[in-house]
Symmetry: C2
Subunit: 249 residues, 2 copies
C-alpha cells in the first residue's frame, strides 16, 4: 500500500500523505515533472481555500455522484497525478458507481501508460482501459486525442480529475457530461465542466464515493432532481470567493 | 546558455523561459522534486498576482539594493531553484553590489552542492561559497544549519530567495538583515524579512540589479534614506491585496 504510518488525526495528515504518494509516484514513473509542478499549483490554491471541502464542493460531489449513477456508460479518466494520489479511492468510486477506469495522459508514453495501469491494478482495478487507444477526440493533437473507443469514446459521462483545459474543452464539445475536479475555479477545465468540483482530489474522490453509496438506492427521479438543481455558476463563484477570502498564512 | 530561442516579446516568454530552465535544472541534478512542487506553488501565486512586478515589490527591490550596497558583507544565498532559474542574473547582482554568492540547500547533498556551484561558475561566478560548511546557524538541524563561516556566517546582509520558513527565522534571529524573495506575502519567510520582495524571482533579481546599478554612486545618506523609508508592513499588505484581487483566469 502507499500509506504512511501516521494517525489520520495528525494535523498535517493529508499533506504528508499527499507528499508521500507523489514521491512514490515519481519513483514508479507515474508522476511526471509537469505533474510535480501541477501538484505545487494545487497546493497553493488549496492553501488559499483553507484546505477544506467547502459546502458547494460537497454539493458538486453529490451532483457528480448522481450523474455517475444515472449514466449509461460512465468513465473515470485517470492521469498520472490522479493515479499517484488516489489509486485505491478511484477504484472504490468505480465500484460504487459501475464506472469504467481509463488511463488518459497529457504526455502519453507507453511506459507511463503501463506503469499507471499496473499501479491501478495493484490497488484493485480489474479492467483498466486506455491502452487500446483505438478512438480519437476530435480537435486535439494526435497523441493527446487518443482514447479507447469503447471507453471514453463511448461514454456519456466522464469524470476528468486534474485535466488540461484543451482536452476538457474537446470532451465537452463532444457533448459528454463532464465532471471535473480542479482547485482553480476559473481554469478552463472548471469553466467547461457540467459539474466543476473545486476541491483537492484527495478529499473529492472519497466524497463522491460517499454520496454515490448513499444514493445507490435512489430513484431516477431523485437523482435527476439532484443533477438538475446543481448550480454550476453559483458553485464556481462560491469557490472563487473562498479562495479570495481564504487564509494566506 | 540556458536560454531558449523565442523573442522576449512573446506573451508567454517568461513562463516558457521558466519552464525551460527548471527542466534543465532537473536534468543537471540542481532542481529537486520538492523544488518542482515549490515552483508550482509559485506559479499559482504569481498567476494571482497578475504575473507582474507590483509597485511595492519594485520599492522593496530598491530597498534591497540599498541594503546590499550599504552592507559590510553581503551574501546572496542560492538554493536549487534560484540556481536553476536565475544563475546568470544572480552573478550580475553579485557583481553590481560586491556581494558573495553562497550555495545553501534545504536538502543538502554534496552532489547537489557541487552541481549547483558548477552551474553558477558556468554562468560567470568566480568564487562560490557554501562548500566549506564550517559555520552553523543556531537553532536548526545539523544538515540545514550548515553555512560557510566566512560567508553567511559572517554576513550582515543576506539575500535569501525562495527560502524555507525555519531557516529564514533562524537567520533573522542571528540579527542579520534579511532580504527575502517570496511570492507568498504571508509565508514565514516573507513575514520574517527585513525586506520582503513579493515577486517572481525571475523578475525580482534583475530588478534589484537595475536599482543597484542606478544607486552605485549614491551617498550613504541617500541609501539609508531608502532603507529607512521602506515600509515592510505596507508592502506585505499591498501584495496580499494584489493576490486577493488578482485575476484567477
Amino acid at each position: 500500500m502507499d500509506d504512511i504510518e501516521i494517525p489520520e488525526s495528525h494535523p498535517r495528515y493529508e499533506s504528508l500523505l499527499t507528499r508521500h504518494r507523489i514521491e512514490a509516484g515519481v519513483e514508479k514513473g507515474i508522476t511526471s515533472q509537469q505533474g510535480l509542478i501541477a501538484q505545487g499549483r494545487g497546493e497553493a490554491y488549496d492553501y488559499l481555500l483553507g484546505e477544506e471541502t467547502i459546502d458547494t464542493a460537497d454539493e458538486a460531489a453529490r451532483a457528480a455522484a448522481a450523474h455517475l449513477l444515472l449514466a449509461d456508460h460512465a468513465v473515470l479518466s485517470v492521469n498520472g497525478n490522479a493515479a499517484a494520489l488516489v489509486p485505491g479511492e478511484l477504484v472504490e468510486l468505480a465500484e460504487a458507481t459501475g464506472a469504467d477506469v481509463e488511463v488518459n495522459l497529457f504526455n502519453r508514453t507507453e511506459e507511463r501508460m503501463e506503469a499507471i495501469a499496473e499501479h491501478l491494478r495493484e490497488h484493485g482495478a480489474e479492467d483498466v482501459l486506455g491502452l487500446e487507444a483505438d478512438g480519437r477526440i476530435p480537435g486535439l493533437d494526435h497523441e493527446r486525442a487518443k482514447v479507447d473507443a469503447d471507453g471514453i469514446g463511448d461514454a456519456d459521462v466522464v469524470l476528468v480529475p486534474l485535466e488540461d483545459g484543451d482536452r476538457a474543452e474537446a470532451l465537452a464539445a463532444m457533448g459528454k457530461t463532464e465532471l471535473v475536479i480542479d482547485l482553480n475555479p476559473l481554469s478552463r477545465s472548471a469553466q467547461t465542466a457540467t459539474v466543476p468540483i473545486v476541491d483537492n482530489i484527495i478529499r473529492a474522490v472519497p466524497t463522491i464515493t460517499a454520496h454515490a453509496r448513499e444514493l445507490q438506492d435512489a430513484s431516477r427521479d431523485e437523482l435527476e432532481g439532484i443533477t438538475d438543481s446543481f448550480d454550476r455558476e453559483a458553485a464556481l463563484a462560491a469557490a472563487e470567493d473562498a479562495i479570495r477570502g481564504g487564509r494566506l498564512d
